[in-house]
Amino acid sequence: MAVPPRHATMQSISNGSTAQGTDRPQTQQTQQAQLSQQSPGLRVPSNRKTIYDRHLNRSRNAELSRASFAFLFGEMVTYAQRRVTGIQDLEKRLNEQGYPLGLRLLDLLFYRSTSTSSSALSSSSTSSSPPNRPLRIITLLHLIHGPLWRLLFNRAADALEHSVSPDTPNEYMITDNDPMVNTYISAPRDMSMLNCAAYVAGIIEGVCDGCGFETKVSAHNQPTELWPSRTVFLVRFGDPVMEREKVLERAGVK
C-alpha cells in the first residue's frame, strides 16, 4: 500500500485523565482498554499541527474497511430512526445529513483537479487550466455521475437519464445498480420501503445547490431481478434553474 502516513491527529483522542473511566459504570472494561493521551489538554495538538497543515490530498487514495463504513452508517441510521416519526421523516433526516457533505466534496473535487498531483498550488503551475464550474444542467449531472461517484465509491454511476415525459422536463435520473450504502443495511420491519441512499441523495442535493442549481433529490428503490437493491436518484430542478437554462442555451453558454 502506497498510502502516505498521515500526521498524528491527537486532538481526536480521549484525554488521558478522563478516559480512565472513573465516572463510568463499566470501569473494568474501560480501564483495560483505555485510549489515552498523556497531554493534559487537547486545545493544541501535541504536534502543533492544525487542519491547515494537513495536505488535502493526503488521504486521496486511502482505503478503509467496508465493514467499518457499514457499522458507522448503520449506527447513524439507527440513531436517526429514534428521533423521527416515519419513513419520510427518516429519509429527510438522512438527506439533511448528506447535504453538507455534498458542499464539501464539491470544493474538494475542484481543489484536487486544480492542484497538480502533490505539488502545492503555490508552485507557479499556471499552464494546466483548472476545470470549469458547471453552468449547464448536463455538465453538472456529468460531474455527479462521474467524478463525484468515483470519489465516493471508486466507480462511476450506472446510468444518467432525462425524463421522457413532456410534463417533467426538469427531472433527471441517476441510477446506481448496487449502492454501497445499502449493502449491509437491513431496513427495520416496519420500514421496508426505506432507502438509506437518501443519504447519498442529500449529497447530490448539496452538490447541485452549491453549484447554484436549486434542486430536490430523492432515492427510490427500483429493484430488478439482477440488481435487488438498484436505486434511482430522482433529481428535480427548480423553475428558476429551468428558466436560466433557457437563457444560457440562447446565449450559447456551454
Binding site: Q11, A19, Q29, Q34, L35
Partner: protein, 155 residues
C-alpha cells in the same frame, strides 16, 4: 504468539481479506455523525461522549464476530497478547492503523493505545467555543467499540 507474527497476520488480512471503501467516505460520515450529535445535544459534550460510547458499544458487539471470522485467531493466552491483537490485527483490519500499546501498569491490567494516525479525525477542527477542545472526545466511539467487543469475549 510473538508480536511480529501478530503484525504479519494483521497486514495479511488487510491486504487479502478485507473489502475496502474510500477512506474519506468513512471519515466524512463519522464527522457527520459527531457534528449531528453535538447539534442534537445542544453541545452538551458529556452527553455526546456518552452517546458515541453507546454507538461504539453496539458496533463492538457485532464487530467482534467479523473480527473472529476474518482473523481466525483463537483465544489469547493473556492480556498482553490481547492488547497486541487489538492494536495490530483489530485496528489494522478495521481502520488500517496500528496504535502503539504502552503505559502498562505493573499488575498488567491496564494499558494505553496511542494513535499516531487517526483516520476518523482527518479534516476535523473542533468547535471554537472554549469547551469542545477540553470536553469533546471526538473519537470516543472507539472506546465503546473496544468495550463492546471485549465484553463479548468475556473480558
Amino acid at each position: 504468539m510473538s508480536s511480529t507474527k501478530t503484525s504479519r497476520i494483521g497486514e495479511e488480512i488487510w491486504k487479502t481479506r478485507v473489502d475496502k471503501v474510500n477512506a474519506e467516505l468513512v471519515t466524512l460520515t463519522y464527522g457527520t455523525i459527531v457534528a449531528q450529535l453535538c447539534q442534537d445535544y445542544d453541545s452538551n459534550y458529556q452527553d455526546v461522549n456518552k452517546q458515541l460510547d453507546k454507538m461504539g458499544y453496539n458496533i463492538g458487539m457485532r464487530l467482534i464476530e467479523e473480527f473472529l471470522a476474518k482473523s481466525g485467531v483463537g483465544r489469547c493466552a493473556n492480556f498482553r497478547e490481547t492488547a497486541d491483537m487489538i492494536a495490530k490485527v483489530g485496528f489494522k483490519i478495521f481502520l488500517n492503523v496500528t496504535p502503539t500499546v504502552t503505559n502498562w501498569t505493573s499488575d498488567n491490567t491496564q494499558f494505553s493505545l496511542i494513535f499516531e494516525d487517526n483516520p476518523l479525525a482527518d479534516f476535523v477542527e473542533l468547535p471554537d467555543d472554549g469547551r469542545a477542545q477540553d470536553e469533546l472526545w471526538f473519537s470516543n466511539i472507539l472506546c465503546g467499540v473496544l468495550r463492546g467487543s471485549l465484553e463479548m469475549v468475556s473480558y
